[in-house]
């Protein structure tokens, strides 16, 4: 019973964790998602959601928490669907030998046609890191809009005059 409940709780937490991570990545200040269920939340609240400030107050998943007793059975246990800013998210935990062996994402968000974007936040990057790409064979030059006069002094003009041979 307790293990079963614990399993359900883990599934729910995984859902919250993922939802929280999504929310965290969408909120500017939250650089790293808080871990769930550890320590005491500010203000003494025993909340383990770890997603303060999130806009989603989705219900925690409890599917699979039936009243049966005994050790957790093998199988796949599905959490509830969480609403996130990126669309619905749903996870399932695979139990084998009483342990969670896998957590699967059942419903991926489809914002922009991509699968789950864990975080698309723009983070600081060093100049030396971006300069690695300099050796690539450049076809065109991108930059803030230049005027016709500005073009004459631009790298693009030099490239055009050089005549592209690629």
């Amino acid at each position: 019973m307790r293990r079963r409940a614990a399993v359900a709780s883990v599934i729910a937490s995984a859902g919250v964790l993922i939802a929280g991570f999504q929310i965290g990545s969408a909120v500017t200040a939250a650089r790293t998602p808080s871990t769930t269920g550890t320590g005491t939340a500010p203000g003494g609240s025993a909340s383990n959601s770890g997603t303060s400030g999130g806009t989603s107050s989705g219900s925690t998943g409890t599917t699979g928490s039936s009243g049966s007793s005994g050790p957790a059975k093998d199988g796949t246990f599905t959490g509830a669907t969480e609403q996130t800013p990126f669309g619905p998210m749903q996870v399932a935990a695979v139990i084998s030998g009483g342990k969670i062996t896998d957590v699967k994402v059942l419903q991926k968000t489809n914002q922009g046609g991509r699968s789950v974007q864990i975080s698309n936040q723009a983070d600081p990057m060093l100049r030396s890191e971006v300069l690695q790409a300099q050796s690539a064979n450049v076809s065109m030059i991108g930059g803030a809009t230049y005027t016709s006069e500005g073009y004459l002094m631009s790298l693009q003009a030099a490239l055009d005059q050089a005549g592209f041979t690629g």
């Binding site: 990545s25 969408a26 909120v27 500017t28 800013p85 990126f86 914002q111 922009g112 046609g113 991509r114 974007q117 975080s119 698309n120 936040q121 723009a122 983070d123 600081p124 990057m125 060093l126 100049r127 890191e129 971006v130 300069l131 690695q132 790409a133 300099q134 050796s135 690539a136 064979n137 450049v138 076809s139 065109m140 030059i141 991108g142 930059g143 803030a144 809009t145 230049y146 005027t147 016709s148 500005g150 073009y151 002094m153 631009s154 790298l155 693009q156 003009a157 490239l159 055009d160 005549g163 592209f164 041979t165 690629g166």
Partner: protein
């Protein structure tokens, strides 16, 4: 591949891969028509006549109304960071017309291997001559004779748009009075209008808009702050470490 350049809309177009004169002519026609209709600098352009009150917006061409409606849609999508209005209320479609015309030109060019650069914004199709992806060098805003990086357009990314707050000729109306936080913003997207509008919006709205838009849109972004600090989304990191 052949490369052609011509002047339009106050800037210069560089086009590689338009193999026939007819195709090049079709592309020129798209930009010249857009310039005639949307320039605020031409005394009798349709948009100029709307600005000076001699033409009602409701009586304007379907094309102008379509572009204006698209721009208003983007104003909503960006929380107002992108807007087709000047602070005095004048309708200014400069922020979207170039990209809109590039998309039109892209349709005229069709499938195949070509690369179109209009004033620093790039739209590509297919591959470069060697069969490798098209690569866009991104100007270093601190030294415009140098490149910050070079980004290959791969995986459905066909467009690279760059907006800046320092360059003359750029019409970005920043919200608030303070200087823009980013001097240059590059956005890679699957289509040029999205890339261009979001680059403009991020320059206008700063990091709040940056974080909002990267979370909601399928785009890759590289920003250069006034301090010189760079920020990049994971997609850009992947590209530069390929």
């Amino acid at each position: 591949m052949t490369r052609a350049t011509f002047e339009t809309m106050g800037t210069v177009v560089s086009l590689e891969g338009a193999e026939s004169p007819a195709l090049l002519g079709a592309v020129r026609a798209v930009f010249d028509a857009a310039d005639r209709r949307f320039s605020l600098y031409r005394p009798h352009s349709e948009l100029r006549r709307i600005a000076d009150g001699s033409l009602e917006l409701l009586d304007s061409s379907a094309e102008l109304r379509e572009v204006y409606a698209t721009a208003l849609g983007w104003r909503g999508e960006t929380g107002g960071a992108f807007t087709p209005h000047r602070p005095d209320g004048t309708v200014d479609l400069n922020g979207i017309v170039k990209a809109w015309a590039m998309a039109e030109a892209g349709r005229a060019l069709g499938d195949g291997d070509w690369c179109l650069n209009v004033g620093g914004d790039v739209l590509v199709s297919g591959a470069a001559g060697s069969g490798a992806p098209w690569v866009v060098g991104i100007v270093d805003p601190a030294d415009r004779t140098g490149l910050l990086t070079a980004l290959p357009l791969v995986g459905g990314r066909r467009a690279a748009a760059t907006s800046g707050s320092a360059e003359r000729g750029d019409h970005i109306w920043t919200r608030g009075r303070e200087a823009a936080e980013f001097v240059q913003v590059t956005v890679l997207a699957d289509d040029i209008v999205t890339a261009d509008v979001l680059a403009t919006a991020i320059v206008s709205g700063g990091s709040t808009t940056l974080n909002d838009l990267t979370a909601r849109f399928d785009v890759d972004v590289l920003t250069v702050a006034r301090s010189g600090e760079l920020r990049a989304t994971p997609g850009i990191r992947e590209l530069v470490t390929r």
